[in-house]
């Protein structure tokens, strides 16, 4: 795992030394674009519209089903959530906000293998994008938060990410700001509190709908919207490549995810799942409610037990090593890929699936060698790049060029013998153990 250290600028260094929060610093803290600049970009990306209505193209019944009863969409709540999203004062040392790891200029993620938080500490998991996150049934790679509201509150109090000791301390960092007091009052009719912090950020995130891609125009009937190569990729996506079953895309669920958790064998060769499972059970034994939520959050980000995925949440044997099927929308600009960011290019992802993942005792049997040819892999990759929203076309082109160059020189996950079924996945494993 690569560890990169970013030097903090002088202001931030002062902040770290004194522990005093610094708002609106212009330097690239933890590699993120400056907050003010991100906000300017966001203005250009999001059109003015009535946030109480479903965005254009989204089924209004589906939209309504995504909004919780206690957090209806209002312009005031969205504005408050937006301000909080970019506010580094919510972190212990004033250097990290949501936008640090969910950066407007980097596909609303950070385009790093794993994310970096306060004190330059690195976590264990790749940051999912906030783009279209509202459509998921659960949040986080292991689904440990049932809603956007719950998700927003956890990184703030995680020791590696934003480092606050607890919710009230985070609120206190911003409650002294008169502007915030006014905004909380306008949004929720009460003084700033941690629950509403989560609600407001969620309301803002519900405006981040980015489903306007060449692929969408192709689905709507424009045969020239995507290349012939990508169209062949769409046929494969629904057929030989078997993507559609876990990455379904339709009017009711536009994301490209089945919202389920599958062990596809990423990094499985490095894990002894049995030992980790025993340790996890011991670590979580007797914990209930809030305590359990915190414990899982820590284990997921700070320890080897992170590899257990969904098992940490459910303790079902069937969930060992299982991670959520992530969205295929905008996937071109939200690399690196998989729960640990171990795959740098979409060609790597295709190689992984083409060989049937990494066999392990808990591998999902639906993952099997696909016998795709190189041309077919290129077609599915072309399709995936066509699913990026038009507003990110430049970034998409950049990423595609970068990934193509990388993939041309190395394909560390490729195993043609297994992909073409000349060698069987579990055969190699048995041989190894003899």
């Amino acid at each position: 795992m690569m560890r990169r250290r970013w030097t903090a600028g002088p202001l931030a260094a002062l902040a770290l030394a004194t522990g005093a929060p610094v708002a609106g610093a212009a330097e690239n803290l933890h590699g993120a674009m400056a907050m003010a600049e991100q906000e300017t970009r966001l203005d250009a990306l999001l059109p003015e519209r009535d946030v109480t209505q479903a965005p254009p193209g989204i089924d209004p019944v589906i939209w309504a089903s995504l909004i919780p009863a206690d957090n209806a969409m209002t312009p005031e709540r969205v504005a408050l959530g937006r301000k909080l999203y970019f506010d580094t004062r919510l972190s212990r040392d004033g250097t990290v906000s949501c936008a640090t790891c969910h950066d407007v200029s980097r596909g609303f993620t950070d385009q790093r293998n794993v994310s970096e938080g306060v004190g330059d500490q690195l976590g264990r998991r790749n940051a999912p994008t906030t783009l279209n996150a509202l459509f998921f049934q659960t949040q986080f790679l292991d689904g440990r938060a049932p809603t956007l509201e719950e998700q927003a509150k956890l990184p703030i109090v995680n020791a590696i990410e934003m480092g606050q000791p607890d919710g009230p301390t985070a609120v206190a960092a911003v409650a002294g700001d008169a502007e915030y007091v006014r905004m909380f009052q306008a949004a929720y009719g009460r003084a700033p509190n941690y629950e509403d912090v989560g609600r407001a950020i969620a309301a803002f995130e519900r405006t981040l709908v980015f489903l306007d891609s060449p692929f969408d125009r192709f689905l709507a009937g424009d045969a020239k919207a995507i290349s012939a190569e990508a169209q062949k990729g769409w046929v494969l996506y629904n057929g030989k490549a078997r993507c559609v079953s876990c990455h379904q895309i339709n009017t009711a669920n536009p994301l490209g995810s089945d919202n389920r958790f599958h062990n596809v064998g990423v990094s499985a060769r490095h894990q002894d799942f049995e030992t980790l499972a025993v340790q996890a059970l011991a670590a979580l034994a007797g914990k209930e409610g809030e305590e359990a939520v915190q414990a899982i959050d820590e284990l997921a980000l700070e320890t080897d037990l992170s590899e257990l995925g969904r098992f940490l949440v459910t303790q079902n044997r069937a969930d060992i090593g299982g991670f959520k099927s992530l969205q295929v929308r905008n996937v071109g600009i939200t690399g690196p890929y998989m729960h640990d960011g171990s795959m740098q290019t979409l060609w790597d992802v295709m190689d992984h699936y083409n060989k049937g993942g990494e066999p392990n005792l808990y591998l999902d049997g639906g993952i099997e060698p696909l016998a795709l040819s190189e041309a077919e892999i290129d077609q599915v990759v072309a399709l995936m790049f066509s699913m990026t929203d038009d507003r990110f076309a430049d970034e998409n082109a950049r990423q595609m060029a970068r990934q193509r160059t990388t993939a041309a020189s190395k394909r560390p996950f490729r195993d043609t013998a297994i992909a073409q079924r000349r060698v069987l996945p579990f055969e190699a494993r048995l041989k190894k153990e003899q």
């Binding site: 629904n238 057929g239 030989k240 078997r242 559609v244 079953s245 990455h247 379904q248 339709n250 089945d258």
Partner: protein, 228 residues
């Protein structure tokens, strides 16, 4: 065709056994001609094609049931060397195929309307044609080759007698396909994935026959589209 009556006399005189088997065979629609008794005490009974034969022990007067058994053996042997002639019966001998609805009560009740004038022949013909389509479907359903499987898998491996195919639940949102589909789409998905063959065109006679067979097996089940 030889004179059966004369043969009967020959049987009677040469074997001293009144082969009532002749009677049994007549009711079955085939004829046997007994040849001379063998030295080991058996009789060779031949079919009217003069080629298909079975050996029958010479043990006194056979009953009608025994006669029927000999007739069955003869027919089975003849079918084995002449496959395909009554392919419907052949397939139905192997696999249960639910029969289509009985329309006999429509015969002769037309109130003078020409389009409503339904005859016995109509009803028999309809039944036969409908059953044939379902039976063809059974053939395809049970054959990895006909399905185009590259891994020698046929539908009946997971769906014996089309069990668990639930055609009454379509159209439905099929999770594996990620969208709302009809039965034929799911058949094609199964052909592509568990059976690992090439998809059939929707109007391919095999696809139509498969649908017919699957629907036939669920005759009488209430429709419940969308059910998971």
């Amino acid at each position: 065709m030889r004179n059966p009556k004369r043969r009967g006399i020959v049987i009677g005189t040469t074997c001293g056994v009144a082969l009532v088997v002749v009677l049994g065979l007549v009711t079955q629609g085939s004829r046997a001609v007994a040849t001379d008794a063998g030295r080991d005490g058996t009789i060779e009974v031949a079919l009217c094609d003069g080629e298909t034969t079975v050996q029958v022990a010479q043990a006194g007067k056979p009953t009608a049931a025994e006669g029927r058994q000999i007739a069955d053996e003869l027919m089975a042997k003849w079918r084995a060397s002449n496959p395909g002639t009554d392919w419907v019966a052949e397939e139905r001998a192997k696999h249960k195929i639910v029969e289509p609805a009985d329309n006999r009560d429509l015969v002769g009740r037309s109130q003078g309307q020409t389009y409503g004038r339904i005859s016995e022949q109509d009803v028999v013909g309809w039944e036969r044609a409908t059953l044939a389509m379902a039976t063809r479907g059974s053939q395809v359903f049970h054959s990895a080759d006909e399905l185009g499987s590259t891994i020698a898998v046929s539908c009946d491996m997971c769906h014996p007698d089309a069990a668990n195919t639930h055609p009454e639940t379509y159209p439905k949102f099929q999770v594996q396909l990620g969208r709302t589909v009809l039965l034929r789409d799911m058949i094609n998905w199964c052909i592509e994935h568990p059976v690992r063959g090439a998809k059939l065109a929707e109007d391919d006679p095999k696809m139509r026959a498969l649908e017919a067979y699957i629907l036939a097996q669920r005759k009488g089940t209430p429709l419940e589209y969308g059910k998971h």
